[in-house]
């Protein structure tokens, strides 16, 4: 559309070249200047704690003895990482149970919330829709509530005599109330059971342990209680995601649509061929944030969950850091591995959504 404005260097007369470099230096200075306040805050309140945490992951600090005491900790090399990743034992088992739960959680929540949020944003962006403001507000309401409050309210709605079971019971009279708040059966296990498949049917390989977790348990899917937390989190995040998509939709200049209309595209074609591609950077943004947020899910699980069926990596970090028998070295090591996992997933998803437009 627009011609490349910066001319080829070879064709520029010397004097102009000089001002170009000055301009570049000026731009670089402006760049650093603009970045300074934010970077300074990140440096002090994030980078320093991260470095401390990274260092602690190679120690056996209990998290209680004052850190400035000489004998507060000893460095133990990669012991913590080995206990979590390679050494069979309770640490490894717990860690991989947490990883399994968290990955199921992420794979369930991220696509669902992104898709629903996109659909809603498109609807709310339509000119024919009346009371758009009200709809937007309603959709966003769940994002406003504090996670502590809404988790407790959900606990109550999903209790076995609660509103949700009551509603399902009205629709399906045969429904036997599920205790959503405390049901550790895996969803996939439950489905398999409907087809009469149990661990015993699958032969000995199902009981073999890999990284401390049985094959059968690896394929459990999220537990029923986890599913409830997934519904809760989707419910709360849709509003935020919708707002992000909405803002991006607003950012698409109307002449783009006018051009599509002139070319004879119908609404669906416009959506497929114009809107979706233009939303790509935003989708990348929404999915990246969704991934990071979901991998770190803590508050809701901390309040609702209990036991292995809902153990996520972030909750394991908290338990190791502040629970009985606290072990800050182990907790920080767990967190660092979680960081690595998130990193890998982000890089993978960048291949799907990032494309050329994600310039990093």
């Amino acid at each position: 559309m627009i011609e490349e404005t910066s001319p080829h260097v070879g064709t520029v007369p010397p004097k102009q070249l000089n001002t170009m470099t000055n301009k570049k230096i000026g731009e670089a200075l402006a760049g650093y200047l603009f970045l300074t306040p934010a970077l300074l805050i990140f440096l002090v309140f994030l980078v320093i704690p991260v470095i401390v945490a990274l260092y602690l992951s190679f120690t056996d600090w209990n998290g209680i003895t004052p850190l400035r005491n000489k004998d507060a900790y000893t460095t133990v090399g990669s012991d913590n990482y080995q206990a979590l990743l390679t050494e069979p034992g309770r640490r490894q088992t717990k860690f991989f149970i947490a990883v399994k739960n968290t990955v199921y959680y992420v794979l369930g929540v991220v696509p669902t919330q992104t898709l629903i949020a996109l659909i809603l944003a498109v609807i709310v962006n339509q000119r024919w829709l009346k009371a758009r403001g009200t709809f937007r507000t309603i959709a966003y309401l769940p994002s406003i509530t504090s996670s502590v409050v809404i988790s407790i309210v959900f606990l109550w709605l999903f209790s076995s005599g609660g509103l949700v079971n009551g509603f399902i019971g009205t629709v399906y009279p045969d429904y036997k109330a599920i205790n959503w708040t405390d049901e550790s059966t895996g969803v996939f296990h439950w489905v398999l059971k409907q087809f009469g498949v149990t661990r015993a049917d699958l032969g000995p390989w199902a009981s073999e342990k890999h990284y401390g977790v049985r094959t059968w348990d690896w394929i459990s899917g999220p537990s029923v209680t986890m599913l409830m937390i997934m519904i809760l989190n989707t419910w709360t995040t849709i509003g935020t995601m919708m707002v992000i998509f909405l803002a991006a939709l607003q950012n698409i200049p109307s002449f783009v649509y006018e051009a599509a209309q002139i070319d004879g595209a119908n609404a669906w074609q416009t959506f497929r061929k114009v809107t979706i591609p233009l939303l790509r950077p935003t989708t990348f943004f929404a999915v990246t944030l969704g991934l990071i947020g979901c991998f770190q899910v803590f508050d809701q699980v901390y309040i609702i969950g209990g036991g292995d069926a809902t153990l996520t990596v972030a909750v394991l970090v908290h338990r190791n850091a502040f629970g009985t028998g606290s072990n800050m070295g182990l907790a920080t090591a767990t967190a660092m591995i979680l960081f690595a996992i998130i990193f890998v997933f982000t890089v993978i998803q960048r291949r799907f959504f990032g494309g050329e437009r994600a310039n990093w």
Partner: protein, 327 residues
């Protein structure tokens, strides 16, 4: 049932029929989806609000009810107990049989007996300050990363993105010790400084600035405007939707921040924010949660945010974005 205010101009014969059908189907489907969705989104709130006006036994009676059946009934009765008068509550089994709705302000009274006004002030003050600082710092940084060429640009962005991936819980203790060494624990700056720029905000603003066409700034550059002028006079004014989004995210994020602020002021109850206060209430009543007070607190925590969001959401649509870019 719905009036259609679609675009009147039909350009080609081929599309005319399809368009007509679409103009009827799309709103019908759209409204249906939105209304169902709105109900799902609203239900827990309606439930919370209606129950916050019930007394404890009515809240706890099963099966649970939406307004107003079964109702809070007469929650209290005065009984004489060994000569002294005391207030007794109805057993849950009794309340579920009554069919009158009899709201009570018990929960609100109980929560106002706490330091609630102070907590509301703290939360509002901290959230507002953090919001303004983030609007400034995040958009500056986001703009630099999106638009300005300088060595290390990509590295810095990558760095910011990576920091976002560090689980926050693990930073609680190091950050606490750091702030303690700085002498900031139990003060407003402890609640504000660490949060005054956000990785999320920088990421958000960068993505937005990237989607703005470059032509406008280039025109201004030709006119000899400096970077700072361009940013404040040109870029920010056309970024209202993004800034509104950032403002709302920041305000709401800080309003509800719990773990991040927990340690920083936990020993000074007059510096607590609402989530800390609510969590204290939860602990205060042990395993036996005082539902009515808790729900009343939830309503008080949520309502101001809902009103603020409703007031500002129109900027997403009717903001001044790109008026100068068309044609």
């Amino acid at each position: 049932m719905t009036t259609i205010t679609g675009t009147p101009a039909i350009t080609t014969k081929h599309n005319a029929g399809v368009k007509k059908v679409l103009h009827i189907i799309a709103p019908t489907v759209g409204y249906t989806v939105m209304i169902i969705f709105a109900l799902i989104q609203l239900l827990p709130f309606i439930f919370t609000i209606s129950n916050s006006f019930k007394c404890l036994p009515a809240i706890q009676s099963f099966p649970q009810s939406l307004i107003p059946v079964p109702p809070s009934a007469v929650c209290e009765k005065k009984i004489m107990d060994e000569g002294r008068e005391r207030t007794s509550v109805m057993p849950a089994s009794d309340t579920s049989k009554r069919l009158t709705f009899n709201p009570t302000l018990d929960g609100y009274k109980e929560i106002f007996d706490q330091k609630l006004p102070r907590w509301v002030f703290n939360t509002a003050f901290v959230s507002l300050t953090v919001m303004f600082l983030r609007l400034l710092f995040d958009s500056l940084a986001g703009y630099a990363l999106a638009r300005l060429n300088f060595p290390g640009n990509r590295v810095i962005f990558f760095f910011v993105l990576s920091l976002l991936m560090i689980p926050g819980i693990v930073l609680l203790l190091p950050r606490f010790i750091l702030l303690k060494e700085m002498g900031l624990i139990n003060s407003y700056p402890a609640l504000i400084l660490p949060f005054s720029a956000s990785l999320f905000g920088v990421f958000l603003m960068k993505q937005f600035f990237e989607s703005i066409p470059k032509e406008l700034e280039e025109a201004a550059m030709v006119d000899g405007a400096g970077r700072l002028t361009i940013f404040f006079r040109l870029v920010l004014p056309i970024s209202t939707p993004a800034l509104t989004a950032l403002a709302i995210f920041s305000f709401q994020g800080m309003w509800n921040e719990f773990l991040g602020v927990l340690l920083l002021v936990s020993t000074r109850s007059d510096l607590w924010t609402l989530p800390l206060g609510l969590s204290f209430l939860r602990g205060q009543f042990g395993e036996q949660l005082r539902w009515h007070a808790f729900l009343a607190g939830s309503v008080i925590t949520t309502l101001p945010l809902a009103v603020i969001f409703f007031m500002f959401q129109r900027y997403f649509v009717e903001g001044v974005s790109y008026t100068g870019l068309k044609g």
